[in-house]
Subunit: 208 residues, 2 copies
Amino acid sequence: MDVVFVLYPGMTALDLVGPYEVLAPQPEVTARFAAATPDPVRCDAGLVLAPTTTFDEVDRADVLVVPGSGRWGEVLDADVVAPWLRRVHPTATWTTSVCSGSTLLASAGILDGRPATTHWAVRDELAALGAEVRTDRVVVDGSVITAAGVSAGIDMALTLVGLLWGDDRARFTQLLLEYDPRPPHRAGSPETAPPALVERGRHLMRRR
Amino acid sequence: MDVVFVLYPGMTALDLVGPYEVLAPQPEVTARFAAATPDPVRCDAGLVLAPTTTFDEVDRADVLVVPGSGRWGEVLDADVVAPWLRRVHPTATWTTSVCSGSTLLASAGILDGRPATTHWAVRDELAALGAEVRTDRVVVDGSVITAAGVSAGIDMALTLVGLLWGDDRARFTQLLLEYDPRPPHRAGSPETAPPALVERGRHLMRRR
């Protein structure tokens, strides 16, 4: 099974590495890391990832994983990822996004009239791009799976493992990642965080 | 604040990228990614990370983050990371590990007689290396913070953010990462997973 992880400058590393750590170790999976060029990709907080292939070389995939970015508006404006997604998505059994990666799917026309989720601070913008926005952590619709912000990619990928290979495989993967989360606070969603923090987060994630 | 993330071949990417995504975006933080050589580092499931500095160039740090590996025994045998940790740890305000990264701290003598946690499947081995092993998800002891397996690095780093800058900063970070986890199963610890899966996981993580 050919899983292609999409890399681009300014991406949020955890959006990609959460699903990667769940999917790439599965024995059936061949993982590829595709970017527009072979150059190393600098993520939005400084980590540098190296592609193993380029968009030109990838004509098909069984699974696509598209991460988001704190500067998602600039990524849309660059218009590099969405044209490639438009071409490869029809070949994929599953096309997935994490966080504001949903805006790239929407920009490629993949979310037109489709239920989808995204980072909580980007919901209105995703709706403006044509999706039927849900507030769920993971939304499965046809061949498309979208996840909420950053850390939700782990839940998304475990859901996908369950769909591909069954619940026992998902449980085993969860156990190996010791995914028994203990968030120190009840502040991980706009419904539970103090309103002043929600406002600040919305400002930080606005389109630029 | 100088945060040094340790890279080495065979490391588990999420062990590092969880804490990175929590710590690196903080305005006070300068993030560096240090490896033995400037060469790109291949993680244990295929992702390639690029160092921004080398161990030779790092004499001190405010915070050290040490990831684990699925092949942690081979990493101990290579004896590259622990000698450097022995040198830099005394300069650090906080030395932290995720997953089997704890065995590198132990190998550097940092965990002698100290309470510490690790990936659930490596507890006996960490005890044999001199630590007083706990089953907690995060253990803070003096200037050392250890985390349980893989995904526990997120909880560890949020705990550290609270210690460094207060609970409100930790809440804001948690909100930005939308860290409101919804694991699809109750299987993230050896206490909750089916015994057959625990046995298989223990076999997979044994020292090689």
